[in-house]
């Protein structure tokens, strides 16, 4: 029963992936509204990262459907999914260490994406302004010429978020964006996420419950590839099943 066109940014239906018989994601149904900041939590091995892998095309699903703005993603290749408007941040900061902050953002700028386009790509005022704008947003505008390898762990995380923002995706997926950050950096990141969730949907995987409480509009708890509970933070925290498998520890 595949749904017809909907208003959801993302509609995941009956999604299953099995690795040698082990169902990492099992018949998952999941919807994401426009402008919603949704956090997925769950114990290790619950299938959180796998869900992101499936949406962005890194892993191919065994069955089911993933519709992004009514466009089926399961048949598309990775770069086509990105071009459709889905951005994904990896768990460990995934940036180009040999390039400067400016160049990292420039390489991510969504123009000149073909071979010849990239050869003829010109760094014009429009590109420079956009890079500066994003750099300000991710608090790295004073470090544009710094080699990315020299950034702190937190700054690397922000840079990767910036690299996604510059593509202006309609759906932004972040895998543990505050892992390894200091308390202050966490607060700044929470502020950043609240700001960028205006005008787009954001899907976040996170462990840090305090951080989740700061940002989440809606929370889904995943356990053994299935949804255990879903709703606002308070409802989920009071759910006895959730307390048993996850929060109780």
């Amino acid at each position: 029963m595949m749904s017809a066109n909907t208003d959801f940014t993302l509609a995941v239906e009956e999604l299953t992936v099995s690795f040698d018989g082990f169902k990492a994601v099992d018949n998952l149904n999941f919807y994401l509204d426009k402008n919603e900041l949704h956090v997925v939590i769950g114990p290790n091995g619950a299938g959180k990262t796998t869900v992101l892998d499936l949406i962005c095309g890194k892993t191919k699903s065994t069955s089911g459907s993933i519709k992004f703005m009514n466009k089926e993603l399961t048949k598309l290749s990775e770069h086509e999914i990105v071009r459709a408007g889905v951005g994904r941040k990896f768990q460990t900061p995934s940036i180009y260490e040999n390039l400067t902050v400016f160049e990292n953002l420039e390489v991510s700028y969504p123009r000149g994406r073909g071979v010849f386009g990239s050869l003829m790509f010109k760094r014009d005022a429009e590109v420079e302004n956009k890079i500066l704008e994003i750099a300000k947003e991710i608090m790295l505008d004073h470090m544009l010429e710094t080699e990315a390898a020299l950034l702190s762990h937190g700054q690397k995380q922000w840079l990767e978020i910036g690299m996604l923002l510059i593509q202006d995706p309609q759906l932004l997926m972040l895998d543990e964006p505050v892992a390894g950050m200091s308390v202050k950096e966490r607060e700044q990141t929470a502020e950043l996420l609240n700001k960028i969730s205006a005008g787009r949907s954001v899907l976040v995987i996170e462990h840090d419950m305090e951080f989740v409480a700061q940002i989440a509009h809606k929370v889904t708890v995943l356990h053994q590839g299935k949804i255990l509970a879903s709703g606002d933070m308070d409802t989920v925290q009071k759910d006895p099943k959730v307390i048993e498998v996850y929060l109780g520890h």
């Binding site: 770069h79 990105v82 180009y96 040999n98 073909g114 071979v115 990239s118 050869l119």
Partner: protein
């Protein structure tokens, strides 16, 4: 003008290096060397084409090809086929049982020119074939490998195997290819004697200009967004893919370009040296090309040329006196470069000019304690 300066020459350092190299090969060598030695240098410089192609493909692209000899050979054989056909005019080959076909075909009982030799009667076709056939071949290999995300050591092994297969094919199909001896006894180009001293000097300068042009084109690629994407892919391929790029296409393009450059070198090799044989196609020459690039510095286009010249001068000098030792020496040099100077000659040069600046800083500055502390261990390391 600023386009020339920034994009083709690569700013101040790039310009200085480029001008120095151009002066060396266009002025110093022709003045200092006799005709015989200059012709040797021309041969060395033709190896610099595949060495530069490896700087792009391996140094920047992170994809090691152990088969650049394939493309060097395809370019060289293309040129040799044209020259051979001209040398095999019916008048020149009147004593053969089938006059008008290359001598080795006659020896192998062929009685007609094979179909794929026919178009090489045309010089225009030959020039196009030299550029296009290797690129198309690289495209096919590239699509088969990169679209399936085969890379790294597997790609190196597969390219090596292809170069081996091509050698075996050339050696085995003697009647069509000239076999192990290659295509020899090339004489004229449009009736113009290519073995004269004048012709050899001219080929030297053509090789130099083509080499400099190839360096400028490669610079253009490296200073464009494409160049930064190459570095980005080498570092975090997945991040590039998930930024909306079809990574395979970029690898295919740089592989095709590297094939085309190598083929130009091969064609100039045939003209400068006067023959082409399978010994410039197979595994050993392909690995030598990698060594040239590694010794010169795999991130330096100009370094690759110096690496090439240095090793080949060394090879000539040593193999005259100790022929049996040369291969060991070259192997040792390669290991030494990989272990101690991963950035090759270019890296040494950068470190060294860095040290000179630091030392000047030490003399002129009263507050240079931190600087010298940092310099001291590095100096030991480079000795």
């Amino acid at each position: 003008m600023s386009f020339m300066y920034e994009k083709l020459l690569g700013g101040k350092n790039g310009t200085v290096g480029f001008v120095l190299l151009a002066t060396l090969i266009l002025v110093v060598f022709p003045l200092a060397l006799d005709g015989f030695r200059l012709n040797l240098v021309a041969k060395y410089l033709t190896y610099a084409f595949p060495a530069i192609s490896l700087v792009l493909l391996w140094g920047y692209g992170g994809t090691l090809s152990l088969g650049q000899g394939i493309f060097f050979g395809l370019g060289g054989y293309g040129m040799a086929m044209f020259l051979k056909l001209e040398a095999s005019s019916p008048e020149n080959t009147a004593i053969q049982s089938t006059p008008g076909i290359p001598d080795f075909m006659d020896w192998n009982q062929l009685t007609a020119l094979p179909w794929f030799w026919e178009p090489f009667n045309s010089f225009t076709f030959t020039l196009l074939a030299i550029l296009i056939i290797p690129s198309v071949f690289a495209y096919l290999i590239g699509v088969a490998m990169f679209k399936r995300r085969v890379g790294g050591v597997y790609f190196a092994i597969i390219t090596q195997v292809v170069s081996l297969i091509l050698t075996v094919l050339i050696v085995g199909q003697q009647g069509y290819t000239g076999g192990i001896n290659g295509i020899t006894d090339l004489r004229t180009l449009h009736g113009w004697d290519i073995t004269s001293d004048f012709a050899k000097n001219l080929f030297y300068f053509i090789t130099c200009f083509l080499l400099l042009a190839v360096i400028l084109m490669s610079r253009f690629i490296l200073t464009s967004k494409f160049g930064r994407l190459l570095l980005a892919m080498r570092d975090k391929e997945d991040r590039v893919r998930f930024s909306g790029y079809d990574v395979a296409n970029f690898k295919i393009f740089i592989f095709c370009f590297s094939a085309m450059i190598s083929a130009i070198g091969g064609a100039m090799f045939t003209l400068s040296v006067g023959f082409m044989s399978p010994s410039f196609v197979g595994i050993v020459p392909s690995i030598e090309m990698v060594i040239f690039a590694a010794v010169g510095g795999r991130l330096s286009l100009i370094g690759a040329v110096y690496g090439c010249l240095l090793i080949n001068f060394g090879k000539t000098a040593f193999s005259e006196s100790f022929p049996e030792l040369w291969l060991f020496l070259m192997g040792g040099l390669f290991i030494a470069v990989v272990m101690f100077f991963p950035n090759g000659l270019a890296g040494l040069w950068e470190d060294h000019s860095h040290h000179i600046k630091k030392r000047l800083g030490f003399i002129t500055s009263l507050f240079s304690k931190n600087d010298t502390a940092a310099v001291a261990p590095k100096l030991e390391g480079s000795n």
